[in-house]
Symmetry: C2
Subunit: 186 residues, 2 copies
């Protein structure tokens, strides 16, 4: 149950509206957590009801009106509690690894195009993270906060680097095995 905490972090870093949060989850926050706007609105409602956040006064909080939230002390306390609590790592699931393993039994036919597409997506993501790094973490800024945030961004960068390398290797393996033993061969 981490989405509410991701939202608390984002709001502590900068109070925002639902859509503002959605945009930030699509961009920089995306390298450690992702969420759709529906999840975010639902969670904002819950967090407000629980007294962990509150809407900043602006005008009527009617529909179609921008409504910004800030974190209350209770929310900060809950976040600190959660951060320090022991948690088991969630099991990983990766469909691309699964598909490669499937290709070992049913053949690699049709796989190459999507491998290339994923490689491209990961390269773009990597480029974007490196852009963020250049912009937000220039050498010399060594405040404790910045170092921790940079560490998290580095994880994103290194994971994307891994995937681009791995997908490149996978593509190199493909042509060698280009057969499709689709049916039970005698």
């Amino acid at each position: 149950m981490s989405l509410p905490h991701a939202i608390l972090i984002a709001l502590l870093e900068k109070p925002s509206s639902g859509l503002g949060l959605t945009r930030r989850f699509d961009r920089s926050i995306g390298y450690f957590w992702s969420a759709t706007h529906q999840q975010i609105y639902r969670e904002l409602g819950k967090l407000e009801a629980e007294g962990q956040i509150r809407a900043l006064p602006a005008a009527q909080p009617t529909r179609g009106q921008k409504k910004s939230y800030e974190v209350l002390p209770a929310g900060r306390a809950e976040l600190a509690r959660w951060t320090a609590a022991s948690q088991d790592p969630k099991p990983h699931r990766d469909a691309m690894l699964l598909r490669l393993r499937a290709a070992a039994v049913v053949g690699t036919a049709g796989l190459e195009a999507d491998l290339r597409r994923h490689l491209d997506l990961h390269r773009r993501q990597l480029a974007e993270y490196e852009e963020i790094e250049k912009r937000d973490f220039p050498p010399g800024n060594d405040s404790a906060q910045a170092r921790l945030q940079h560490l998290v961004l580095r994880a994103g960068i290194e994971l994307e680097t891994f995937w681009t390398q791995w997908l490149t290797e996978a593509l190199a393996e493909l042509p060698v095995v280009e057969d499709a033993p689709a049916d039970p061969a005698p």
Copy 2:
């Protein structure tokens, strides 16, 4: 929707019962997909109803009876179709990255113990994968099937390697930023 396909792969590699599958998902299959026994039994039921797999005859398929399944042609075809189909990568979510980012705002108090615990878990996982590599992929075996399976295992090994390095770095950052102190126990 990948669990049924993970099961098809596992059954193609070796027909098994529900519990057998559960064990394999906990072990070697775990580096690309994980599932609980309840998920597996539910999915086996569905796959059988759809005619993608069938129970091997053994005795009465009553409760408490071991019941093994094998993949039917329809199942193999569906797996080949799924493998070749274009799929978007799922967004990643990692609670530990989230907690580090939280620590940048609410302090790192209480985090160290769990970082160490995770580091230990990833080291063990890495050792286990390297054991599998030594056992199942000795140098020289260069069949197409083996190369693809090895590639997938390498992904697991390299990801675990990344995490052990990253967590080590994270631990190195901690003492420097020990703010929000309550009762530090050195």
